[in-house]
């Protein structure tokens, strides 16, 4: 019988991304759940913190990142639950492909969902509270933060869907280890919002990049251990 060569790393990764995006474009399940959740979080903060003109300058970036962090866990849980539902995870693992390509594909898919939500929330937030969030520096911070978040989140969600408590466990595992990322992202965003000098923002940007590099490479290396049996 004719046997084929094993697909390349990039091809596998793109196939996984294509699969997640196609399914999502059709059902819009993950996106709509994340977006509605994000909007509700913003709404609740509005009343809880009374985001008035005087206070909001200092809390805006905090509210923004809490919103992204919470909405992010919904997306991660949904995206991994889909792999478990009809046993698809087994299907992926039986394919003759590099497993870190599967990880990276899932991670990029999750990053897309997160960025898609941010693309809606950030302009909306700007309009609702009359602050301009559309600054290149801030958008860079949002991207760096989202990369680290989906990087570590994809790994931990892969673990948590395999436990008895399933989606309940993800925030408990994820939040304590993303604290440095969230702190750095909040501080860097606030720095750009308040137009602080670059010297004040730089340490936070560095921390974000260090976090992204460390956790993406570690997740990449250990992913095999959380899917094998």
């Amino acid at each position: 019988m004719k046997n084929n060569a094993n697909p390349s790393f990039i091809k596998t990764m793109l196939a996984v991304v294509w699969k997640d995006l196609t399914a999502e474009l059709r059902s819009r399940e993950v996106f709509s759940a994340m977006l509605i959740f994000a909007l509700l979080v913003v709404l609740i903060f509005n009343f809880a913190l009374e985001l008035e003109a005087g206070t909001r300058a200092s809390v805006t970036s905090g509210v923004l990142w809490v919103t992204f962090t919470f909405a992010g866990t919904i997306g991660l849980n949904r995206s991994m639950a889909q792999e478990k539902d009809r046993g698809c995870m087994d299907g992926l693992l039986m394919a003759p492909v590099d497993r870190s390509a599967i990880y990276l594909g899932k991670m990029i898919g999750n990053l897309f969902f997160m960025v898609a939500v941010e693309v809606v929330v950030i302009p909306l937030f700007s309009v609702l509270y009359n602050v301009n969030l559309l600054k290149p520096g801030l958008l860079l911070v949002v991207l760096l933060g989202s990369i680290g978040y989906s990087g570590i989140g994809t790994l931990l969600a892969t673990m948590s869907v395999q436990t008895r408590t399933r989606d309940m466990l993800l925030p408990i595992l994820l939040f304590p280890v993303v604290i440095p990322l969230v702190v750095a992202a909040v501080k860097a965003s606030a720095g750009y919002l308040q137009a602080l000098p670059m010297a004040d923002i730089q340490p936070w940007l560095t921390l974000l990049i260090v976090y992204d590099v460390i956790f993406l490479s570690v997740a990449w290396m250990v992913f095999d251990y959380v899917v094998e049996e």
């Binding site: 570590i152 790994l155 931990l156 673990m159 948590s160 395999q162 436990t163 008895r164 408590t165 466990l169 408990i172 595992l173 939040f175 304590p176 280890v177 993303v178 604290i179 440095p180 702190v183 750095a184 501080k187 340490p203 936070w204 921390l207 260090v210 976090y211 460390i214 956790f215 570690v218 997740a219 250990v222 251990y225 959380v226 094998e228 049996e229």
Partner: protein
């Protein structure tokens, strides 16, 4: 048992000796703290909590490093004893981290006039404790012992990498926590230690480190015994 009863007896004996040494060390540390170290001029008696407070925090941190290293070794070679060691270290770590937080609060109340402040070290210790607890919850949610060990090892490594970053991220804020060693001159928060205090402090650190090793050893032996028991139960079921 191919290890032989003899080696186990020998192990038990050395562990017993270590037990005695540990008890003597911790008792002498307590003795030094109360009878040898001079009374701190400003803070008074409450400063004495500091010796065991820092030692506990040190053990809490040491446990994390040991747990992560053992976890890494487990992922490499898959031997059960490394998982048991990693798990044992986390259990000890969570205990000492909580002791450190409580003793810290006892100290902070009269000195900083608050039970809690969002200082980098305090906050990091609290977050470290949360990572430990998340680790324990993760293990509880998995039935297959091998998967439990693998997931635990992965998570404890992730945690051990993130905790120093957490510390750095909070450190960039100003801190009011006393910097004990190598305090820059003129830092109001630092206090100079008299030689007797320093000796007591270093001795406490040493005593607690030995205590950590002893507890870890006991816990690993217990873990191995649990493993054996589980195995026998399963075999008798068949």
């Amino acid at each position: 048992m191919d290890g032989g009863l003899f080696s186990m007896m020998k192990l038990k004996k050395s562990l017993l000796i270590l037990d005695v040494i540990t008890i003597l060390l911790v008792a002498s540390a307590a003795g030094l703290v109360f009878f040898y170290a001079p009374l701190e001029a400003v803070m008074g008696y409450v400063q004495k909590v500091f010796y065991f407070h820092v030692s506990s925090a040190w053990v809490g941190m040491l446990s994390f490093i040991v747990a992560a290293v053992a976890g890494g070794v487990y992922l490499k070679n898959g031997q059960r004893k490394w998982d048991i060691t990693s798990y044992a270290a986390v259990e000890i770590g969570v205990l000492f981290a909580i002791i450190a937080i409580i003793t810290g609060s006892i100290w902070a109340r009269p000195i900083w006039n608050t039970w809690w402040t969002w200082d980098p070290r305090l906050t990091t210790t609290a977050i470290m404790t949360l990572v430990y607890v998340a680790y324990l919850m993760l293990r509880q949610g998995i039935d297959d012992p091998e998967k439990r060990a693998r997931f635990g090892a992965v998570y404890v490594i992730i945690g051990a990498l993130s905790v120093p970053l957490t510390f750095m991220s909070i450190r960039i804020f100003r801190t009011i926590h006393p910097v004990v060693i190598n305090a820059p001159n003129g830092t109001s928060a630092a206090f100079d230690m008299a030689p007797k205090m320093l000796l007591t402090f270093l001795f406490s650190l040493f005593a607690f480190s030995v205590l950590f090793v002893t507890l870890l050893w006991h816990r690993v032996e217990l873990g191995k015994a649990q493993d054996e028991l589980e195995q026998k139960k399963l075999l008798s079921n068949d």
